[in-house]
Each structure stands twice: as C-alpha cells, then as structure tokens.
C-alpha cells in the first residue's frame, strides 16, 4: 500500500519540435531520498542536454527508463514516493524488435478503442482488480465522451480553442500543465499559462521541471503515455546491410533535422535570389576594429557579425521578410530574433541558436552574442529558450569557400540569408574621372531564400539591394 502520494517523473518537452529524449544518467538510484527541485537525472535531446529536477520530495521508488534508453516526451521515467508499481517489467524491457509502423499502429489502436484498456492502464491497475471499463454516463455514450472518460490519454488531445490560442501566442500546449480530463490542457490552463508571464520565459522554466501528475492508483486515474516498451526507439530496420554497406541508427537529432527539412520544403515555396557585395569597406573597418575588439572585449568581429548587424537594420524596412504566415494571417514584429545555423562539434548535425532582440544590439553586441551562442551550441550547453522563437535566420557556409547555395527555411519563418566566402575578384569600378577600370575587390555573395507565398521576388530584390548598400557604405558611427 502506498503511504504517500506517488508523483510521476516524466520526460519533459524540451522544445516545440522535440518529440523524444534519451536518459543519459541517473543522479539518484532507486530507494534514495530526493528533495524537490534537486537534480534527479540528465537527459539528452536533439536540441539540448539538461538536468531534470525532481518534481517532489520523497523516495525514488522506481526507475522505469534506464540510462541510454530513448523515450517519447511524456513517458513516465520514474516514480517518487508511493509504493513501487507492481509491474516493473516495463522498466527493464529492452526495445522490442518491432517496426516503427507496427508500434504506431499499436498505439493508434490503443488510443482509438475506448473499450480496450491500454497496456498503460493495465499497468496502472492492481493485479487483483479487473481491468477498468470506461464508466458509461447517463447520457448516451458518444465516442467523444469516451475520450473524455479518460480511456485514452487526454493530454494528447488539443481542443480547437486551445490550438488557436496556442498558435496566436506561439505557445506549445505540451508545456502547459493540464487540469482537464486525462490531463488535457483546457482553455483556462493555457490562458493562465500565458497570463503567468512571458510564455517564452516560462517555456524555458517549464522545460526544466517535468510535467507531473499525481498518480493515485484509482481506476479513473489518467493513463500515462504508453510506456517505452510499447514504442521502441530508435526503431531499427531489421534488414541486413549488403556487402560493403554499414548500418547505423539515426540519432534523434538527425531524425529531427530530416523531419524539419522535409516539412519546410513541403510548406514554403522556396525561391532564392543572390547578390554580390563589394566588402572593401567592411574589410577595412574590420581590420581596424579587430585589434580593438580582441584587446578590449576578447571578441572577434567576424564578417558574419557585420552581415548580421546590417541584416537586422534592413529587416526593419521589410517586416514581411521578418514575418510569418500563421493560418490565414500574416505575422509581423517590432523585433528581430536572429537565428544562426551552427554546425555541432561532432559533425553530426546542426542547431539554430537564436539571438533574441537583435535589433537592440550594436556590432559589438552582435559579435559577442554570436560567439557566445555558437560556442555553447557546440558544447550542447544551450537552454531550450535559446533555440526557440527565431524570426529570421542566417546560415554561413562560406567558411569552406562556397560562393552560392540554396538553404532551407527554418519554419515557420519567411526567409533565410546565406553568406558565402569573401573572395578577391577583378571588379569593374569607376575611377576619379568616371572611367571604367578593373580593380581587385573582396566580393561576397549573399543569397536570400524566401517563401514566395509571402515574399515576392521584387521585395526580396529590394531587401538584398538595401543590404548590399549598407555593407558597401558601412557607417561606423551608426553601427
């Protein structure tokens, strides 16, 4: 018998697009005492590595997901307090050799058929008790009523009004603690969440303490998300490699990138325009500032910082390029959250940390910010807040000498700027007498890849022209 209320520790949602996480290390072992908010375990997701604090004080009665296992967001990882659940099988179960499709089907069946208690429910029930049947109401039982009775995990259902509010405020309903049936997020829950403060800020905090639901062992208790055993991850194809081939499982990050890239191309009408920029002035100014910045601030004013600073300035005049299509509406902002595509140190993926409110930073501020987030991105030390909320992205593949590219837009943004190698080229300019002469100039190509649903070619052209103008006539005093 439970002597205290059991509290579930679940895999937290670490970002809008993050669907799963890997337990990297348990900092406490079963039977050990833990305080509320004390670090309980470490997890790794495709965006960040972080510690998960304990949602309650008590004894760590049971660890259900072992180190190295990858589970879906919301999966119960452990239990604090209460008696250990009778069935510890799920915790030790190795990933079953089922295909992802079979797992998905199994999940679909268990969530659509209210009469069949899910495996999770069975696990919740004491062995001597019969499997719970959804209570039938006095009113005629409709399928919706069954979902409402908690036969399925209500947390996964987002009602129309909650979906609308979430999209209007850019909030992920998964980060909101639900008070509705089965843990469903109600309109009141999400409004209170938004009212409670800046959702972006709250999301970072909410990501740290996992969403918890007191798990009283009553038949009507909300069923936890399917345990890990029900949906093995990573799902490995069983085919043997052909001669000369090797197989390796996709990392969570690689799958996340794959999904996002495909979805972006399916969503936006990608068009790319390019422009050539004479960087003579920037090169000269950078040469001068480099010493000063490195000496006084320990910061390298990279070409990227110059381009970023000029981009933020130009975006001010092109709100749609810093905008977003949201349903039937166009979103514009009075701020720029500038994302930078950063390759990770291990070469196994990329991440887009975001420099918030870049419109308030001068050249030094941007240079410092870019250095900082790029380093922490490589070290996987970013907080969830720092990889969300971008309004425009810059990608910089020029370090390898490439002079052109067609990057993929980071959804749901409207455009992405590509910066390329600064190359000395013979360039036609006019001399003092207005005669054409050939000079050697450092030239950089810039590309703007934009969503033609929102941004037309002429608008993109004007944006690139203005950006080039700012770089070619760099005003040191202004920036």
């Amino acid at each position: 018998m439970a002597t205290e209320t059991a509290v579930d520790v679940v895999m937290p949602q670490m970002g809008v697009s993050v669907s799963e996480g890997t337990v990297t290390k348990w900092l406490k072992s079963e039977g050990e005492q833990v305080e509320a908010d004390e670090a309980l375990l470490e997890i790794s997701t495709d965006k960040v590595d972080t510690e998960v604090p304990s949602p309650a004080s008590g004894t760590l009665t049971q660890i259900l997901v072992q180190e190295g296992e990858t589970v879906e967001v919301g999966t119960k990882l452990a239990q604090i307090g209460g008696a250990p659940a009778g069935n510890g099988q799920a915790s030790a179960a190795p990933p079953e050799p089922a295909t992802a499709q079979a797992a998905a089907e199994a999940e679909a069946v268990s969530s659509s058929e209210g009469e069949t208690p899910t495996a999770a429910q069975v696990e919740e029930t004491k062995p001597e008790e019969p499997a719970p049947e959804p209570e039938s109401e006095a009113a005629p039982a409709a399928p919706a009523a069954r979902i409402a009775d908690g036969a399925t995990d209500g947390k996964s259902f987002v009602s129309p009004v909650v979906a609308r509010i979430a999209s209007e405020h850019g909030v992920d309903p998964g980060q909101v603690q639900g008070s509705g049936r089965g843990g469903r997020v109600t309109k009141k829950d999400i409004l209170a969440f938004i009212d409670s403060g800046e959702p972006m800020k709250a999301s970072a905090e909410a990501a740290a303490p996992p969403v918890v639901a007191p798990s009283t062992p009553a038949p009507a208790a909300p069923a936890p998300p399917p345990p890990q055993a029900e949906r093995p991850a990573p799902a490995m194809p069983q085919a043997e490699p052909a001669a000369g081939e090797t197989l390796e499982p996709m990392t969570a990050m690689r799958r996340g990138i794959a999904e996002h890239m495909r979805r972006s191309l399916d969503t936006s009408a990608h068009v790319t325009s390019a422009i050539e920029v004479d960087m003579s002035r920037v090169v000269a100014i950078r040469k001068k500032l480099k010493k000063e910045y490195e000496k006084d601030y320990g910061v390298n004013p990279t070409y990227l910082s110059f381009v970023a600073r000029a981009t933020v300035e130009t975006l001010r005049d092109f709100p749609w390029i810093n905008g977003e299509i949201r349903g039937e509406q166009i979103v514009t902002r009075n701020y720029v959250n500038l994302g930078f595509a950063v390759e990770l140190a291990d070469g196994k993926g990329l991440i887009v940390p975001v420099l918030k409110h870049a419109e308030g930073l001068n050249l030094l501020g941007i240079a410092r910010g870019v250095t900082d987030i790029a380093q922490r991105a490589r070290d996987k030390k970013l907080t969830p807040d720092e990889v969300q909320g971008g309004t425009f992205t810059i990608t910089n593949p020029g370090g390898y000498g490439t002079f052109h590219g067609t990057p993929v837009i980071s959804q749901p943004q409207a455009a992405i700027l590509g910066t390329y190698a600064v190359v000395k080229r013979p360039w036609v300019i006019q001399d003092d007498r207005g005669e054409d002469v050939i000079a050697i100039r450092p030239i950089m190509n810039l590309t703007l890849t934009y969503d033609h649903r929102l941004v037309d070619g002429a608008l993109a052209g004007r944006f690139l022209r203005d950006l080039r103008e700012k770089l070619q006539t760099w005003d040191e005093a202004a920036y």
Binding site: A139, A145, S159, A163, K187
Partner: protein, 324 residues
C-alpha cells in the same frame, strides 16, 4: 409593475391587445363560454362579445383555415390549440397555406397560434409534447417560446403585431408555477433577441421555455462547486439569436444545449451545428446536447421524470463538461 403568474401575463397581454386593436379576435375550442381549458380567456366573451371570442368546432383545420382567411382579409386572429399536440391536425392549413401565402401571393398572414405545450404533469403522449422544432423547420413560420411572465406578455404583443404566422408556445408547467414582475404598460419584446437569464464564465447552457428554470437550479449546484454557468434563454427559435449564442461560446468555450423536445431533429441540433460551423476555434469541449429521448412522452410519473431532463441530469451534464 405588478407580480403576475405566467398564465395571468398571457391573459392580460391578450386582453390588452384586443382592447387596443379591433382587428384582434380569438378563436378556439371551449375558449368562450368556458374560458378555455386553462382559463386564459376567462371573462373574454363577457368583455368582447361572442363575435370576437369564438367557440370553434372540434376541428383544428377549420380554426387555422378560418384564421388564415380572416388574416388575408385584414384581421389579426389569435387561435388557441387546446394542447399544442393538436396542431398536427392543422398541419396542412398552417404549413401549406398560411406559411406559403406571403411568398406565393405577397399577402401577409398575421395569425398567432397559442400552443399550450410541455409536460411534467403526467399528461401522456397527446398532451405533453413540445413540437416547436417541427415548425422551426418550415420557412414562413415564426416560433416563439417565452419563459418568463414579462416575456410572455411582450412576445405575445409582438406576435399579434407581426405580419407572419406566429406559433406561440406557452409552457403549461410554467402557467401557475412561475410568478414575476410584469410591467403594467403595453410593450413589445423583440423577436430574435436572446435573454441572458444569468451570467457566467465557465459553461454556457442554451435553452428556452421551462428548461430555463431546470438549468437555473442545476447552475446553483454547479456554483457551489465553484463553476459559473451562463444561461441563455433564446426566447424565440425563429428567428434565433445566433449572435448571442456565439458570443457566449466565445466566452466560455463549453456549451450544453438543453431542450425538453426529443433528441433527433430537435432544434438543439441546429444550434450545435451552427456553433461547430461558426465558432469551432472557440470550442474547448464537444458541444453537448441534453434532451428528451426519442420516444413519445410517457404517462407514468416515474417514466415521465426519466423522459424530461431533470435538474440532476443537467447537473451531471454540466459537471461532465466542466471536468472535460
């Protein structure tokens, strides 16, 4: 202002209309000498004479047919069906003739049909029905369902002045049970304007007629749980106040449509469908309907109680919605 029963308000309102407008006359079974089955027209024949307070033969067809003819000739007849259930006998005159006349020939048909409706007193299958939905489906007819004495008088005045055939459903269970202040002067309550019976923030009940009071009692119990319920009394079904309904849905996002009429094809379905079409993105729960089941109204008091939505049924539905 004076306190009146729902029945007294109807009677006084009707008398007032007859006094101010010579074109208004009443016709029905036993409404003259006897004063009507529910005594709404008691004393009318003494005051207005047998020509304006006509005892009709037992033929609803003749009553509605006669009213239609008189209305076309410029009169403003008010017919009484002894029970709303009997209106089915006059279906053809009402639906085929009266409802279509204005579209066919351009002549207005300003008739008012008073329909004592509803159950709750073991009247059985022929004396307890709420057939408003059947007529709400017929273009050309207006459908009126007052819940309060004040509305009973004001909506009757509007119905008599309206150039279309108006079906005025007066709920028998409210006749002597409901008492409230009614303005002494004449006034018209506009059609298509819902009344907020009580304001609330968490759930909305959309209803009309006697169910307004059932909802009110249920809402009190929910209030004890800390759940605030808004009750919207539609007052008229044709036209109905879509705007008020959608506004309330936007506010609470959880809706119970409640009516005493049976389920399938009931007017609640129309409301629920409209909410789904026009306020989908404001919903935080499925729109729920609580109605009588699809059976005739039973005689047995126990069965009738099971048939007509009771306070505890509404409480259960509301709690279910609140917890969703």
């Amino acid at each position: 202002m004076s306190e009146k029963t729902y029945l007294q308000a109807i009677s006084d309102g009707l008398r007032e209309e007859m006094r101010r407008d010579k074109r208004v006359f009443v016709i029905g079974e036993d409404i003259g000498v006897y004063g009507g089955a529910f005594k709404v027209t008691l004393g009318f024949q003494e005051e207005f004479g047998a020509w304006r307070v006509i005892d009709a033969p037992l033929s609803e067809t003749a009553i509605i047919g006669g009213c239609t003819g008189a209305a076309i000739m410029g009169m403003r007849p008010v017919a009484e069906m002894q029970f709303a259930d009997f209106i089915s006998c006059a279906w053809d005159q009402l639906v085929t003739v009266a409802a279509k006349q204005r579209w066919r020939a351009g002549t207005p048909v300003p008739i008012t049909v008073r329909l004592p409706s509803g159950g709750g007193f073991s009247g059985g299958p022929f004396h307890s029905q709420n057939p408003e939905s059947s007529f709400a489906h017929i273009p050309g007819l207006k459908v009126i369902c007052p819940a309060t004495p004040e509305d009973a008088k004001g909506l009757l005045a509007s119905a008599i002045q309206d150039p279309n055939p108006c079906l005025y459903f007066e709920h028998k269970h409210l006749y002597r049970r409901i008492k409230a202040e009614v303005p002494d002067e004449r006034y018209e309550t506009p059609f298509g304007k819902a009344r907020v019976h009580q304001e609330g923030d968490d759930l909305t009940v959309i209803t009309w007629g006697a169910m307004v009071y059932t909802a009110e009692e249920a809402a009190q119990q929910l209030n004890d749980d800390g759940v605030s319920v808004e009750i919207l009394d539609l007052r008229t079904l044709v036209p109905w106040d879509k705007q008020a309904v959608l506004e309330s849905v936007r506010k609470t996002s959880k809706v119970l449509v409640l009516h005493e009429d049976t389920h399938t094809g009931g007017f609640g379905g129309e409301i629920a469908a409209t909410i789904a079409e026009e306020a989908f993105e404001d919903l935080d729960a499925p729109v729920k309907r609580l109605t009588a089941p699809d059976t005739p109204v039973p005689f047995s008091p126990q069965l009738e109680k099971a048939f007509i939505p009771q306070v505890e049924d509404v409480v259960a539905s509301l709690r279910n919605l609140a917890e969703y």
